[in-house]
Symmetry: C2
Amino acid sequence: MANANVSWVLGADGSDFGIDNLPLGIFSTQGKAPRTGVAVGDFVVDLTTLHDAGLIDQPALAGAQTLNAFLACGREHWSALREQLRRLFGVTVAPHDRAFIEALLVARSGVTMHLPIDVRDYVDFYSSIEHATNVGKIFRPDNPLLPNYRHIPIGYHGRSSSVVIDGTPIVRPFGQAKGAGGSPSFGPTQMLDYELELGFIAGPPNAFGSPIPIAQVRDHVYGYVLLNDWSARDMQSWETQPLGPFLSKSFATSISPWVVSLDALEPFRVENRTLDPEPLPYLRTSEP
Amino acid sequence: MANANVSWVLGADGSDFGIDNLPLGIFSTQGKAPRTGVAVGDFVVDLTTLHDAGLIDQPALAGAQTLNAFLACGREHWSALREQLRRLFGVTVAPHDRAFIEALLVARSGVTMHLPIDVRDYVDFYSSIEHATNVGKIFRPDNPLLPNYRHIPIGYHGRSSSVVIDGTPIVRPFGQAKGAGGSPSFGPTQMLDYELELGFIAGPPNAFGSPIPIAQVRDHVYGYVLLNDWSARDMQSWETQPLGPFLSKSFATSISPWVVSLDALEPFRVENRTLDPEPLPYLRTSEP
C-alpha cells in the first residue's frame, strides 16, 4: 500500500508544504479577484475550482474572499476538507482527478497573498513567563513580573482593523513620549520594535455570556499564523497607565498569509511546563 | 411659509423624536427580517420602502440589516438623507407623498430593535477628568489621576463581539479576584458595575498608516448612542496590571438602539473647557 504521506505534487515531500500541512490562505493572480487556496509543494490550488468540480464538498470556500465562512463551519468541516485534500494530493488519487488538479497548479512564487481572515476581534496575551519578564523589564526594571501573572492569563484587546498581511509597509507612528524633563514631546517614535507571536485563528463563536470549557478548545480553534506585534516602546511607556497599550500598538499587526491547522500541528504537541501554582478549578456554582 | 421644524407626524413636535432629530436604527416587526428605519414622533418608518418608492435616494440603506454600508458612504450622503427626511416629515410635503408615508408608519412601541451597526472595533476613552479621577479612586485611592491624563487621550480597545443592544440580558461574569489573604479566588463578581458613556459611531475609515486631522472629524463621525460599559470591579483590579482591563470589561457593552446624528446635536454644541496644559501641536515633520 502506498504511503499516505507521499504526494505527487512537485516540492511537497520533505518540505514545509507536504500533505501533512496543507495550510489555507487567500491568493490572487494577475487580473483576478482574491480567492481561497491551499498550499501544497511549490504550488497553490484554487479551492473554488476544486469545489465546483465536485472534488471537495465545502460550499463555504467557494467564491469566498476570506476564510471566515469556512472557519465558522466548525471541526467536522475542517477535518473533512483535510481528508479530502490529503486524498487528492496523495499518490493514490484517481488518475483523472490528478490530471484535473495538475492543470490547476499555480506557482506559489507568482501569486499575491491577501489577509486570510476578516478580523473581528483581536486579543494579545502574554504567552510565556520569559516574554512577560523581558517586556516587564523595559517598563519596570525592578519589578518585571507582576503578582497576577502566575494565576491568570494576562491579555488585552488590540485593534482589529490594523491587522495586515505580511509585507504590508508599516508607517513609523508619530505620537507622544515622555521627554527628558518629564514632560511629554510629540514626534516619530524612536523605539520601534516588534514581538514575534503566534496568532490563534478561532472559528465558531460561543453564545454570548457562555464560556468555552478548555476541553472544547479544538472545536473553536482552527489554526495558527505567525504574527508580528509592532510596538512603539517610548509611546507605550507614556500612554500605558492605567488602561494598557493603545496607540503604541494599534498602528500595525502583521500576520503570515498561510493558516496552519491545529490538526497539522497535532503531532508536534508537547507537554506543558509544570504550572506553579496550579490553576484554580473552574467551577461555576451559584449566583451570589 | 410653514415652519421648517414642524412635522405632520403624530408625537413629533415637542418630543425627543421631532424632525430635528431623526435618528436611524435597525428594527423588525413580527415575522419580518430586521431592516433600516428612522424614528419620528411615535413611529418608525421603513427606509428600504422609502428608497424603493423613490422618496429617498440611498441604496446603501435598502435591504440592509445594519447601518454600516450607509455610514461608509460619508457626510454627503448623511446630509442628503437628513434633508430628504426633513422634507418628507415636514408640513410642506406633497400630499401624495404624505399619504404614502402615513400608510408606512409603525408604532415604535411595538417593534423590536436590533444592534444598529456591525461593530468592527471598539475603543473606550476616559472622557472627562471627573470620571478618570472617580474611577482612579477605586483602584488607586492615593493617586487617582495619573500624570499622562492631562496630555494625551487615555483609552483602550474593548471587545467588539460583546457589544449588544440595550435590553439584552447580561450574565454576571465568573472570574478571578484577589482574595482577603492576597491570593486570588474564583467565583461570580461581587462588584458588578456599569459606566454611562457616549458611544461615537464612525463612518468612512482613514487609510492604513494615515491619521485623521481633528478638523476633518465631521467627515468620519456619523453620530452617537448611549452606552453602558459593564464592569466587574473586583476582577478588574486583579487583572488590570500591566495591560489594562480585559475580562472584567469584555463580557458586555450595551448600546441604545437609535443612532443620533452629529448634525442633530450640532445646535447643542458648547465650548470646550479650557485645557490645561494646551495640547501639543500635531506636527508631522520628518522621519527620524
